[in-house]
């Protein structure tokens, strides 16, 4: 990567007000961290969105690979119809080697909104919780 490409990435990071930009190519890894004082990032803890009185949506807390079943377990965290409590882990988002939890804020019956495992973006609706 040359200096001009790097400058373009810095501009992108600043304009996008990104906390982190990471680019990986074979044999190359660039990570840019935005200034720490940027405080207008989207709220990290995504609120669940209520749809009417009874149904709440649970969305992806960040960009990464959706993992609905822990690799050491033989069953997924939840299946359709399971009753969950606030704080229960419904799935994981994998970023590098890290797992971030997708948790329910509500109590109720869970329904999955995505069929496949794979990449999800910030805010992707993943589950619905019927109170």
């Amino acid at each position: 990567m040359d200096i001009e490409q790097l400058q373009a990435l810095v501009t992108l990071t600043e304009q996008g007000r990104l906390a982190v930009l990471e680019l990986r190519r074979p044999g190359e890894r660039v990570r840019l961290e935005g200034p720490a004082h940027l405080d207008n990032r989207v709220e990290a803890a995504l609120p669940t969105v209520s749809q009417g009185d009874k149904t709440a949506q649970v969305m992806a807390p960040g960009f990464g690979h959706l993992v609905t079943q822990h690799p050491l377990r033989s069953a997924p965290f939840v299946t359709n119809g399971n009753v969950v409590k606030p704080g229960d882990i419904l799935a994981l988002i994998q970023v590098d080697e890290l797992y971030l939890p997708v948790t329910s804020q509500d109590a109720g019956s869970v329904r999955s909104l995505t069929a496949a495992q794979g990449l999800v973006g910030y805010g992707t609706p993943l589950f619905e919780i019927d109170a």
Partner: protein, 333 residues
């Protein structure tokens, strides 16, 4: 502080080990699965050599007598915090009074409980590990028992050993996936890499072929001192008589029976049996999770491969640490 509510006979306080004292006849001790302990400390932002609790026999229950972050690594044992499931390879916050319970492991042999700041016991000869032969180090030089109250160390510059993890916490992909080592056609067997050792050439060609090609079962006579294995049996080409010499964890000795013994963390630092090989340092953690009855397979490597494996492990941990630190920065900003 944490209080032990229930424990098996052999839960001990361990750090990475007591190094540099083999010359005094003091073995290394330290976590059988050093990678699990290291990852627990990374998750919590602890010193890399902070002490945790190694739990080989379950069930195990502790109560947090103060608010604290904790990490659970190693064997997956269906943990719950006040009844709510805690995934394996996970860290999260516990409030004062909450009870963490570990169940029977689904896979692996040893679970590790780490707390923010580390278990606060006095280092002896440079380590907080429990020395089971000498009854020193760790918590009063002995395994933990019901009613023990363990202090957690305060981290520098902080009033409380709390790192600000969210209540549901976060985790890591199990390291057996990040640092895979597989052998075709041996799903149930645990492969470990082995260097030929001093007396390797003294065994018959047939025995050496069996050594590399056959599975070696971990027998019930296996613990932190060493694993006695059962397999085809190794025959020396001619009798070998040896004087006692220094040994390290990982050394595979062959007593007269021909059934090998892998010396491990609590082994004495000298022995007189011939040595056919040594499990490389980078794979000792895999042995630490081998269960009694499981079989091992030995993969031959040379010194360059052994040190490359150690570098690969160090790089894996460094990248994990970087990712965790980054994630913390995002949460705390």
């Amino acid at each position: 502080m944490i209080e032990i509510l229930a424990t098996g006979a052999l839960s001990t306080v361990q750090d990475l080990g007591r190094f540099g004292v083999l010359r005094y006849g003091v073995g290394t001790s330290g976590a059988m699965d050093d990678l699990a302990l290291a990852i627990g400390n990374i998750l919590l932002g602890n010193d890399s050599n902070a002490a945790g609790i190694e739990v080989p026999i379950l069930p195990f229950r502790v109560r947090f007598t103060t608010d604290a972050d904790f990490a659970l690594t190693g064997a997956d044992c269906e943990a719950t915090l006040d009844g709510q499931p805690v995934p394996p390879w996970w860290c999260r916050h516990a409030r004062q009074g909450q009870v963490l319970a570990l169940g029977v492991p689904r896979s692996g042999a040893r679970a590790y409980l780490s707390v923010a700041g580390g278990i606060d016991v006095e280092p002896v000869l440079g380590s907080r590990s429990t020395q089971m032969r000498g009854n020193f180090g760790g918590f009063e030089g002995r395994p933990l028992k019901k009613g023990d109250a363990l202090k957690t160390a305060l981290r520098q510059g902080e009033l409380t050993p709390v790192s600000g993890i969210s209540s549901s916490g976060f985790g890591v992909r199990p390291p057996q996936l990040g640092l895979p080592l597989t052998l075709s056609g041996s799903q149930e067997q645990i492969p470990v890499r082995v260097l030929p050792a001093g007396e390797y050439e003294g065994y018959t060609a047939q025995s050496l072929e069996a050594f590399w090609q056959q599975p070696w079962q971990v027998t019930p006579q296996s613990d932190r001192y060493g694993y006695r294995l059962e397999g085809p049996g190794l025959q020396a080409a001619r009798p070998m008589e040896m004087r006692s010499h220094g040994i390290v964890p990982g050394v595979i000795q062959v007593p007269h029976s021909g059934q090998p013994i892998i010396q491990l963390r609590d082994a004495q630092p000298s022995g007189g049996y011939p040595k056919v090989g040594t499990v490389i340092e980078a794979d000792l953690w895999r042995l630490g999770q081998a269960r009694i009855g499981q079989s091992l397979r030995f993969i031959r490597v040379d010194h360059a491969q052994a040190s490359a494996a150690l570098e690969e492990k160090a790089l894996y941990l460094a990248q994990l640490q970087q990712a965790v630190q980054m994630q913390r920065k995002i949460w705390n900003s």
